[in-house]
Amino acid sequence: MSIAQETELGRKEVDDFLSARETGVISMARDSDPYAIPVSFGYDSSDRCFYLRLVSTPESEKRRYLASSPMVRLVVYDESGGEYRSVVVKGSLEEITREELTAEHVEQYGDAKRPLFEIWGRDKSELDVELYRIDPDDVSGRLVEIERAEV
């Protein structure tokens, strides 16, 4: 297997890619400890912001990371027919409190799917569901085309 071509995705290609997907992996750090989890998200291409519902329990490792308002990277990727597309988003997690909610937020979270990877198995009364937004500092996308040798 070898890389036949590697190109940077343009703005519209990145927007189309993100709008068609609903899951990714978000990474954050606290001191020198990394933490990464799969998340579902909604993407608004008009403002290039990401809307996430994050579920945690008060004593969870996730809660400790979220409480530190970390810088994050969100990675969304896909592989199809020898083509790899990936988008890397850099930014910080901004919590949207219940008091701040507007009709526009409700519309935006409507595009964020239910948290597929989250821990809804527990009684919901034990869970904290918080709403977050990423207003990215940087969004970059890449397409890698792979040439596979015939066997």
Binding site: R53, R98, L101, T102, V106, E107, Y109, G110, K124, V129
Partner: protein, 57 residues
């Protein structure tokens, strides 16, 4: 009940996650259209009560 700006207010109770929110008319419409902002469950107009009716008793 109306807020200081004279806008109608409703009490929303999610039938699935139990989230309770006081919302205005535009947020009510958005919740019915797009689902619960917290858990994504479908929302019906019956999941709202008029805050003025709740205060009347």
């Amino acid at each position: 009940m109306t807020d200081e700006g004279g806008e109608d207010e409703y009490e929303f109770l999610c039938p699935d996650c139990g989230e309770g929110l006081v919302v205005n008319a535009s947020m009510k419409d958005a919740l019915v259209d797009r689902g619960c902002v917290i858990c994504g469950t479908d929302v019906e107009p019956s999941n709202f009560t008029d805050a003025s009716a709740a205060d009347a008793g």
